[in-house]
Amino acid sequence: MILALVGNQNSGKTTLFNALTGSNQHVGNFPGVTVESKTGFLKNDRKIKIVDLPGIYSLRPFSGEEIVTRDFILNHKPDAIINIADATNLERNLYLTLQLMELGIPMVLALNMMDEVRNNGGTVNIRELSRALGIPIVPISAINNEGISELMDRAVFVGSEKIFPSKWDICDDGPVHRCIHAVTHIVEHHARKAGISRRFAAIHLIEGEDEMASRLGINANKIELIEHAVIEMERETGFDRNEAIADMRYAFIEKICKDTVKKPKISKEKLRSDRMDHVLTHRFLAIPLFILIMFTVFFLTFGWIGNTLSSWLSLGIDALTGWVDAVLTDFHINPVMQGLVIDGIFTGVGSVLSFLPLVVVLFFFLSLLEDTGYMARVAFFMDKLLRKIGLSGKSFVPMLLGFGCSVPAIMATRTLSSERDKKLTILLIPYMSCTAKIPIYTLFCASFFPRYAALVMTGLYFGGMVVAVLVALLTKKTLFQGKPIPFVMELPPYRLPSLKSTLILMWEKARSFLQKAFTVIFLATVIIWFLQSFDIRLNLVHDSANSILAVLGKWISPLFVPLGFGDWRIATALISGFTAKEAVVSTLNVLLGNLSLPSLFTPLTALSFLTFTLLYTPCVAAVATMKKELHSGMKTFGMVVFQCMVAWITAFVVYRIASIIS
């Protein structure tokens, strides 16, 4: 049996999913954090599958999320729908409920956050509401795990007994009612053949959806009949078709809420939320507070907690490497094999693994900001700035995540409802300098700019952002023409995130990072090790200057002569940086042998090199994610080439200007 979990954004849907399945899945308060359907199995019955669909406000195929949900329901026909609604915000949540009821699929309404309503003196007459809607209702509190098993039983019951919503007709007698019935009659036969509820089909045809017309395969003659009925309705109501339907639904909701819901006079949670908003979105305080919060997060992550944990972890890895090395020597393992294990796998994967704590700590803080509802406020007050570069405030959060790691940042662009915004945001994300580049910056700053390390680092971060703005301005008028998406966003009340969901998120991030380390990066280090240890005739080399990698490096190194660093070793390090940015440092270390960094670079060329590494192609994991999100290898390739070109030009400009100044 398949159950679909559907609800508004911020209704606690993902918390409920966790409670139902015990599965690992991130919960967020930023509108639309669940970006694709996730599946789990019911805790006490492994035969029942639950699909967590993206949070949506309407079944209109308008944003990517709505399309995912609608297509899933129409094409996969779940046995039952669990519709979760926020009881503290019932009026708007029921709008989707009414649309779901039209689908003619067994469903249960889960009224979430009922504890909050009751604690503030409000009530919902569950029995009356259930009668008015014609579907069973279960009051729950997803975060406190209340009412979950009753909900499970109810959902399984309506699914297995095929108990369909009993109330279809929610329109009063009148023009809208007449129109819907006329159209229902016209399409009845087609809807039955297509396996779609006739009322659902009728309403979507009235709203003028061509997609539904072609899905049902109705002819031009009938379309004309429908159009006739619709025009009649528009004339009688004075509304256009879309508003007439929306008005019919909201009018019904207002009526049943008046009969069954007693709203609390004052809610503690709302008051607290308003007070927090007063400060956090204050006219003068909002932006300084935001900068302070982000600074604290980055300081704690990179300066303190994360760094300490990272250095402990790398001590551990070093010890393990030494031990394995000794064991391999004791057993007289073939030296080539030993080289592969120690110099290839342990050094390569180990250097990436030591970043695990940084990534996990950063995500801990970012998920905290997200789950509390603060990120929605950030999107709100940053919207005006981002609009200047042709984006909306919603692109801000993915870009911010880019400072952690491009991979989750690119994945987060799925919440954007326009393809254009999504593509542009994906193009810009790699310019937000990710954590993997930090070892490169640290190494070069220590060697060439010991006194100005902080200045150079800040310059690099801001430099990346400046380039992003320039690229956006440049492409807004050319490659990414078109109107930005409407920015109509709910500001959810601030809520305390549950520790469970935060921990689940951290575990998820850690797991995906480990996965990356042991798959892509593992493979890449083995390949690099191979290219570095053998020559083109596949003989083992003693001097890495003769290796295949060196040949490749020598082949492309002339490209970098105008940038001031034409040495083949540098080119080689840059190639290996494609596997993971940390590899630039490890490859340079290997290739340098006994030489020191200043023998290859001057402070000037170091600056040029840093600029180039800041901007050139994202790592293989990020490129793979780009391809997945863009659904196109060509577009991804185009973006990567574009990014490399921008990097080359910028590094060239920086190098020339710096040469003139000094």
Binding site: Y57, S58, R60, F62, T88, N89, L90, E91, R92, Y95, F239, N242, E243, A246, D247, Y250, K263, T281, H282, R283, F284, A286, I287, F380, F381, D383, K384, L385, R387, G393, I485, P486, F487, V488, M489, E490, L491, P492, P493
Partner: protein, 74 residues
């Protein structure tokens, strides 16, 4: 008058939702329909977008979109 002309704290009633395409449909879905009461809450620190409450929840929309919504002050 249009929605963006209200000052923070003022209440209004929606008369007509203009605009077109996805924007208008989104506004209708979010419950901005003729005769809906709302409160203009505040503006973003940079002056735009604006925040309003209606039907018991908080919504933010851009000034240029709010200009498409005809209202009367209450």
């Amino acid at each position: 008058m249009t929605l963006n002309e209200l000052s923070p704290g003022e209440r209004g009633l929606i008369i007509r939702v203009g605009g077109q395409g996805p924007l208008r449909l989104r506004l209708l879905d979010m419950g901005l329909i003729s005769k809906t009461a709302f409160t203009m809450v505040k503006r973003a620190p940079l002056g735009d977008p604006i925040v309003l409450t209606l039907r018991g929840y908080t919504l933010t929309i851009r000034e240029e979109d709010a200009m498409q919504i005809e209202v009367i002050k209450q």
